[in-house]
């Protein structure tokens, strides 16, 4: 009963081998598809896991934007290919390769998770495929990793942190702040932004607390904040972690004694889940509820009608991605290979967005207003503009060589 391989009859082995070969044959046969003159857009977004609602919002926004262009970009019909990136950096390179080298898409739209986006950028920088990043705010993409073919339509993590830092320092009565965040690139960048804005205005960071992404056992660290007694707490969490953090912060009695502030992700898309525990929390972001402009109202109405959902900042970034691409494709006369015209138009573009007008920076990141928002009920209501026309972290702008 020895299991060792050489005991197996060779015929069976041959058949096994034949089976393996036919599998290979099967996959080789697959890509033989007729080439069509349609513009091929690959959407690499999270459709499963924690970030799935964000992926759906971005896709919806993009589709709405496309629909408003008459379904065409630069006169060309559009074909959309989708890949679920699962927010899993380990599978990211394989997934982006599938779009770029198998499906041969002309444009890649993606993604939410910064780690996945980082892996995508490595591939598109090499292949030269046009990539539009509709969310992931990690810094290097508009810094040392910037590239003529990569554009971001959302924000950098630093921007939203910096806006809140400026806002807090402006108030004068907030002198000391404790920060708490997940220790990963996005968390570190947001905290750095806050620190830059706050300390420049004379504030002081008294406690820096970190916990590993994406753990949610906050209790012990909340006790530390209570003991340190800062004037305010700046927190960076998102999604499920943010919902739990807001609840824990409230239940520890801290919401009434030490005001909580953060970037918009702290309260976006999860207010319903916090059952009122986030009431009064202030955040900064490039979008919010109650921006009363005709542009925004029309967008919200169309979005709600088409998808039976309320749009959020993620949907706006998806929507703006379509606008940006339309500007580029128009300038290139529908020919994606006229890269010079395409990129020149996109780089200088001013986007008339639901969030307000914004301009694409030379490092390919939006120069945009950041709003101060306050949680009222289930809304992130815009209170004021925290910083007008905010550009990215100066160290990142300096680090961007744009392929030179």
């Amino acid at each position: 009963m020895s299991p060792i391989t050489h005991d197996r009859p060779p015929v069976r082995r041959a058949l096994a081998a034949a089976a393996a070969l036919s599998l290979l044959g099967f996959i080789n046969a697959a890509p033989v598809l007729a080439q069509q003159p349609k513009l091929k857009i690959g959407m690499m977004l999270p459709y499963t896991g924690t970030f799935a609602p964000l992926g759906v919002a971005i896709e919806n926004g993009f589709r709405l934007g496309l629909q408003e262009q008459g379904g065409k970009l630069g006169g060309r019909e559009v074909e959309i290919v989708k890949v679920d990136d699962e927010s899993d950096p380990a599978k990211a390179t394989e997934n982006i390769n599938r779009l770029v080298s198998r499906d041969k898409v002309d444009v890649v739209l993606g993604t939410v998770h910064s780690g996945v986006a980082a892996a995508m950028v490595r591939v598109t920088r090499e292949s030269g495929t046009l990539q539009i990043i509709p969310n992931a705010g990690f810094a290097p993409v508009a810094g040392p990793l910037c590239s003529p073919n990569i554009f971001r339509t959302s924000f950098s993590n630093w921007q939203s942190g910096y806006a809140m830092g400026v806002e807090m320092a402006r108030r004068g009565k907030v002198k000391s702040v404790a920060t708490i965040a997940w220790r990963y690139a996005a968390g570190e960048e947001a905290v750095k932004g806050f620190k830059d804005g706050f300390t420049r205005g004379g504030g002081q960071i008294t406690r820096e607390l970190w916990l590993p992404f994406p753990t949610v056992e906050f209790q012990a660290l909340l006790t530390e904040i209570g003991a340190a007694r800062p004037d305010a707490t700046y927190a960076f969490f998102a999604g499920a972690g943010a919902a739990k953090f807001l609840k824990d912060y409230d239940q520890a009695g801290l919401r009434r004694t030490i005001p909580l502030v953060g970037p918009g992700f702290l309260t976006d898309g999860i207010l319903e889940a916090t059952s009122g525990a986030a009431e009064g929390v202030e955040t900064t972001l490039h979008y919010g509820d109650g921006i009363d402009t005709p542009r925004n109202n029309a967008f919200r109405l169309a979005y709600a009608k088409t998808f039976k959902l309320q749009p959020d900042g993620y949907a706006v970034a998806g929507y703006d991605s379509a606008s940006l691409l339309a500007i580029g494709m128009k300038a290139a006369g529908g020919d994606i290979n006229r890269r010079k015209e395409l990129y020149a138009a996109m780089e200088g573009a001013t986007i008339d967005s639901p969030r307000g007008q914004w301009k694409m920076s030379p490092a390919h990141n939006p120069i945009q207003d950041h709003y101060l928002r306050k949680v009222i009920g289930n809304e992130n209501r815009v209170v004021s503009v925290a910083v007008k026309a905010l550009d990215d972290d100066p160290t990142m702008i300096a680090a961007c060589r744009m392929g030179k």
């Binding site: 009963m1 020895s2 299991p3 060792i4 391989t5 050489h6 005991d7 197996r8 009859p9 060779p10 069976r12 082995r13 041959a14 058949l15 096994a16 081998a17 089976a19 393996a20 070969l21 599998l23 290979l24 996959i27 080789n28 890509p31 459709y47 499963t48 890949v83 679920d84 899993d88 950096p89 380990a90 990211a92 390179t93 394989e94 390769n97 599938r98 080298s101 198998r102 910064s114 780690g115 980082a118 892996a119 490595r122 220790r183 990963y184 690139a185 590993p212 992404f213």
Partner: protein
């Protein structure tokens, strides 16, 4: 099982077939697109990893739930040996990465091979998790954001460059060559006295010990070898995609390899490779399912994957290979003794 020691002619035929298969695979870059070449390379890398786990799982009966740790150690070794925006040297980084995995295997194995059964599963998991969190929670190699290899290793020896790892087709050929070497190595190893002792340990460790074998040493050696082979897979994986993150050594990765081995058929060499191919093809296949009515079948690909795993566990105890041979036998009117064919039948 039919008479095993086949005539020399048949052995030769088998070797010829294997060589032909290898040559056929080697031709792939000339007629397949980049994506498929890289996809097959990934299957081969997973095949190496699965074979290395099978040495523990199928042959020696050591159910390791932390095998991805060694895969990850080698991958991180390459990433950390690569200077920023420069290339590491292949001829040092490769042996060092494999040695690193082997050293980790030796150190962890020293503790874990003393335990048995479910405790072995749990201790291997614990050690792998420790390494996972070491890389995940500290900044030694990019934390949970992972670390990137900007330039692939350089292979130049005295001005002569035997192959260029910046080219995907040459990476593929390197993977194929190493795959064939690992396969041959395992075949020789398993036919040796050492291999027979390992199988003996699985069947009845007490008996082996009373026969005078120091089973601890054999198990430790086996664990270390498996770790080193997993290291080869880890190095290649990091090399191919240029990115390493803690998920390389996460328990999901360990579980996935285990699934590949069981799916294909434990205790054989071709089984794990078949399992790895089936696993990756299924993943790709289920993800490309269409939208049916209100449900996007492709979006819920993990549901089909899960159902497939459950059914495999219930209906195909000896994996695809076992199912295949049972079917083969039935077609040829032999006694369908599925259990006797189970390569990992219990003692």
């Amino acid at each position: 099982m039919p008479p095993s020691h086949s005539a020399p002619g048949r052995t030769a035929a088998r070797v010829m077939l294997q060589i032909a298969l290898l040559l056929a695979l080697a031709c792939l870059p000339w007629f397949a697109e980049k994506y498929y070449v890289q996809f097959v390379a990934r299957i081969l890398i997973m095949g190496i990893l699965a074979m290395s786990l099978d040495l523990l799982l199928g042959y020696t009966g050591l159910v390791s739930f932390g095998h991805a740790a060694f895969y990850g150690v080698a991958a991180y070794s390459l990433a950390m040996l690569t200077p920023a925006y420069q290339a590491a040297w292949f001829w040092t980084s490769f042996p060092l990465a494999v040695l690193g995995a082997a050293a980790a295997g030796l150190a962890i194995g020293f503790f874990v091979v003393r335990t048995h059964g479910i405790y072995f599963i749990m201790v291997t998991l614990a050690f792998a998790q420790m390494l996972f969190f070491l890389f995940h929670d500290t900044r030694i190699a990019g934390g949970n954001d992972g670390i990137y290899i900007d330039v692939r290793p350089d292979t130049t020896i005295l001005g002569w460059k035997p192959f260029d790892l910046e080219r995907y087709d040459q990476v593929y050929l390197l993977v194929l060559v190493l795959f064939a070497l690992v396969w041959m190595f395992l075949r020789i190893l398993l036919r040796s006295r050492f291999g027979h002792v390992l199988v003996g340990i699985r069947v009845n460790e007490h008996r082996m010990r009373s026969l005078g074998f120091e089973t601890f040493r054999y198990k430790l050696a086996c664990f270390t070898i498996a770790a080193a082979l997993a290291g080869i897979a880890g190095y290649l994986s990091a090399l191919q995609f240029g990115v390493v993150n803690p998920e390389f050594m996460g328990w999901h990765q360990s579980a996935a390899v285990m699934m590949m081995v069981i799916l294909g058929g434990m205790g054989t060499l071709i089984g794990p490779v078949l399992g790895a191919s089936a696993w990756m093809l299924l993943e790709l296949g289920f993800q490309s399912l269409p939208v049916a009515g209100s449900i996007d079948l492709g979006k819920h690909w993990q549901l089909w994957m899960g159902a497939f795993i459950v059914l495999t566990a219930l209906l195909l105890p000896s994996g695809l290979l076992g199912a295949w041979s049972a079917l083969w036998r039935r077609l040829h009117h032999q006694t369908p003794a599925l259990d006797a064919d189970d390569p990992v039948a219990k003692p």
